[in-house]
């Protein structure tokens, strides 16, 4: 017991010292480097349109209009203070999950004019891990292309080409999985329209 008490003073002193080094010096150094060398990235990869901030390249957002590609279902929680990222955390045998998926499948088919036999890509009917997934699968995008083309009066092929153009492929050829960045795709669609 005495040994413990004797060590309390060095403990307190090193705690203060290390808090200063690790809690003040270190993060401020990293912030300084980040802000100077990687300003865009360090500040959230913000995307603007016509000078106005519309979102982040890395974060998914809600799209409901027929002329936009829709992102994945999200379990983001809105609170007065902040939007809390997160997943549904529903288990695989959960009835709640089955009900939600069933409903989403029906809605997806209806929305995109697909027959009742069309298998729906899994990313379209499952909630993402963060609630902020910026991507959808290529299959999902291609099934939405028809609806988007019709809503914007564009040839489907052009929409398909645009999709292909906005695929974030695997990095270094093997890392991760390919996906379509919905915000960038929708911005490109809007850019098309404004050019027309």
């Amino acid at each position: 017991m005495r040994a413990f008490v004797r060590q309390l003073r060095p403990a307190l002193l090193v705690f203060v010292a290390l808090t200063a080094i690790c809690g003040v010096v270190y993060p401020l150094v990293v912030t300084a480097i980040g802000q100077t060398a990687f300003h865009y990235r360090a500040n959230g990869s913000l995307v603007r349109r016509n000078g106005a901030l519309v979102g982040s390249e890395l974060l998914g957002q809600t799209f409901t209009a027929p002329g936009y590609f829709h992102g994945r279902p999200s379990a983001l929680t809105d609170t007065p203070i902040a939007q809390v990222s997160g997943a549904s955390n529903l288990g695989p045998t959960s009835d709640e999950l089955a009900a939600a998926v069933r409903q989403r499948v029906t809605a997806y088919r209806a929305e995109n004019g697909l027959p009742a036999t069309q298998l729906v890509p899994v990313d379209a009917v499952t909630a993402s891990g963060s609630g902020l997934d910026p991507h959808i699968s290529v299959a999902n995008a291609r099934l939405q292309a028809g609806r988007v083309a019709t809503a914007r009066g564009l040839p489907v092929d052009q929409v398909m080409a645009l999709i292909a153009h906005h695929v974030d492929g695997r990095m270094l050829g093997v890392l991760g999985e390919p996906g379509v960045n919905v915000l960038r795709l929708n911005l490109a669609l809007d850019a098309l329209r404004s050019n027309q």
């Binding site: 993060p27 519309v54 997160g86 997943a87 955390n89 695989p92 045998t93 729906v120 993402s128 695997r170």
Partner: protein
């Protein structure tokens, strides 16, 4: 599984093969150097910083400690840290650096959070977006990410010294080990890693949320784009096997883990130091093959579990197939069970993260473990139940495997007709008493609290059916093993869970470290027995198999009944 996913795992292995040995040698040099006598690498750069700290602390870095003083130092430091962090989060609302105006934490929440970060668990009952200000994240949580890792590494080195030294009772100086680890190992690595992360998109700023109108004005939603010193916290979160992220979604959040490269780098980072400690061990005991055996055991279990998780998730959730969902793998989609997962990471990528994160005591997640398939969720659960030895948390993982090695040596050593001995030190009654204490701590906390929670109505916050039992088992396994990942579907922000998980974390951390340090002290005092043809070899493949068998069998025998009623039953019911 796609061939790319397999190659991705191969790339991870390659990255480790290349970086672990040099770091292991560096660690051995840093820890093996006696203060003022040997020159540890980086003396010119780091020496002055360390000396300043020692002067501030008013300790003599040349003095070494017996195991009792070493343990007392570690406990004192942990206690001071808990108090400090507790005060910080309780006063959060009144402190500056709070652009988002986060309120102070409740006493129970503060208690749980303080213990959680100090014990390297980083269990987060709270959501970072609403409950933690930037100041607290930087000054309280990130600091503990660094120093709790350093404390874990220090105690492992003390145990190694106990094995290596003979006829002495000195195990080193905890303060020197702690400061050296922070200054010469963790901070340099964190600095470099955090900058790399920023370059890929992990945010690093000091502003609050930006509220923007989304592109689709018809959706009439706004988006809060969060800020914060994330990269500087993310680096020690992974490198120190902590797992406590900035945001609620942890490494599923694009601002913490933006792309597949950062995903791979984060997995590499969380495995780096635990494996490097094994390399340092090999160098310090003067027999590389001993380290290879331990690394083989760690890698073997890790690969098996990770493969199980990846395959299970990639195979998808059979129940969804019946609902018209396409989970197949094709050019156009990665498929698999994507509930709770990110597209850029994929189902297999979730398994690739889940295995290492639960094999070390990290507990960060890049997908929702609660939504994994029964077998997919069984993998990380069982991985934790092995006691975090594959490769385990920084320092404490090696410590745990060494304790298992003593157990394996004891059982098998008798079979060759000698008093069991490990690396020249006899294992006798005193060591067995401490070893038994060590082995009992985690199951006691895990099963004891889980069983009680299942009986108490007030603790009934889990889902129905066998999945609910899985949730309870997983969350207590996470606390008792200082992991910190969760089956997040269960509400653990109640007083019952916050207090019992807090106690479980304390038991898991200190009722293992203190007996291990005592074993170190006991071994250090013993003489070294020479190696002869009659010594049971511990640097052969046979011993590796034996050690893996002992670890798996002991965990299996303890937890099989509970697992049978949880994830295994859920799988059979699928």
């Amino acid at each position: 599984m796609s061939w790319q996913a397999i190659l991705q795992a191969g790339a991870l292995a390659l990255a480790l093969f290349i970086t672990v040995p040099p770091l292991g040698n560096y660690l051995a040099a840093v820890y093996g150097a006696r203060h003022g006598v040997d020159r540890a690498p980086g003396e010119r750069v780091f020496g002055p910083v360390e000396r300043l700290v020692y002067r501030t602390m008013r300790i003599d870095p040349r003095r070494e400690q017996r195991w009792t003083a070493y343990a007392a130092s570690m406990l004192a430091f942990s206690m001071v840290s808990v108090l400090g962090l507790y005060l910080l989060v309780r006063l959060q609302g009144s402190l500056p650096g709070n652009p988002g105006h986060r309120p102070s934490m409740s006493p129970a929440g503060a208690f749980n959070t303080a213990i959680s970060f100090v014990t390297n668990t980083n269990w987060q009952w709270y959501a970072g977006e609403v409950s933690a200000s930037h100041l607290i994240q930087m000054l309280g949580l990130a600091v503990q990410n660094v120093v709790s890792a350093a404390a874990g590494m220090a105690v492992a080195v003390a145990l190694i010294r106990g094995v290596v030294r003979a006829g002495t009772n000195q195990l080193g100086n905890f303060w020197v080990d702690l400061v050296r680890t922070v200054v010469r190992v963790l901070l340099p690595l964190c600095l470099v890693f955090s900058v790399v992360l920023v370059s890929q998109g992990v945010v690093q700023n000091l502003r609050g949320d930006r509220v923007v109108a989304t592109l689709d004005s018809g959706a009439s939603t706004t988006q809060h784009i969060p800020g914060g010193p994330v990269a500087s916290q993310e680096a020690p979160k992974m490198l120190g096997t902590n797992g406590g992220g900035f945001y609620n979604a942890n490494s599923a959040h694009p601002f913490e883990n933006p792309n597949p490269l950062t995903n791979l780098l984060e997995i590499w980072a969380l495995l780096l130091i635990p494996f490097a400690m094994v390399g340092a061990f090999g160098r310090l005991v003067g027999d590389r093959r001993q380290a290879k055996v331990l690394a083989l055991v760690m890698a073997g279990i890790l690969v098996l579990i990770t493969s199980l998780a990846s395959f299970a998730e990639q195979s998808g959730n059979p129940r969804l197939n019946a609902l018209g969902v396409d989970q197949s793998m094709s050019i156009q989609q990665s498929g698999g069970n994507l509930e709770g997962k990110e597209v850029r990471i994929g189902a297999a990528g979730c398994g690739l993260f889940a295995g290492p994160t639960t094999g070390t005591s990290t507990g960060a997640v890049n997908c929702a473990h609660d939504s994994m398939t029964p077998l997919g969720g069984l993998a990380p659960m069982v991985h934790m139940m092995f006691g975090e030895i594959s490769p385990g948390g920084v320092g404490v993982g090696l410590m745990g495997l060494l304790i298992y090695a003593l157990l394996a040596v004891f059982i098998a050593g008798l079979m060759v007709g000698r008093t069991p001995e490990y690396l020249g030190k006899r294992i006798q009654a005193a060591e067995m008493k401490l070893l038994t204490l060590y082995i009992l701590a985690m199951p006691l906390a895990l099963l004891g609290f889980a069983a009680t929670a299942v009986v108490l109505r007030s603790a009934h916050t889990y889902q129905a059916g066998p999945h609910g039992l899985s949730e309870v088992l997983y969350n207590y396994a996470s606390a008792a093993n200082n992991n910190g990942s969760a089956f997040g579907g269960q509400n653990t922000a109640t007083t019952w869970y916050m207090s019992t998980q807090g106690v479980a974390m304390l038991i898991g951390r200190f009722f293992t470290i203190v007996p291990a340090l005592a074993i170190g002290g006991s071994l250090a005092a013993k003489p070294k027995v020479p190696v002869t043809a009659g010594t049971m070899p511990t640097n052969t493949a046979l011993f590796a198999g034996l050690l893996a068998g002992v670890a798996v069998i002991v965990a299996g025998l303890t937890f099989f009944p509970a697992l049978a009623l949880g994830p295994i039953l859920e799988h059979l019911k699928l």
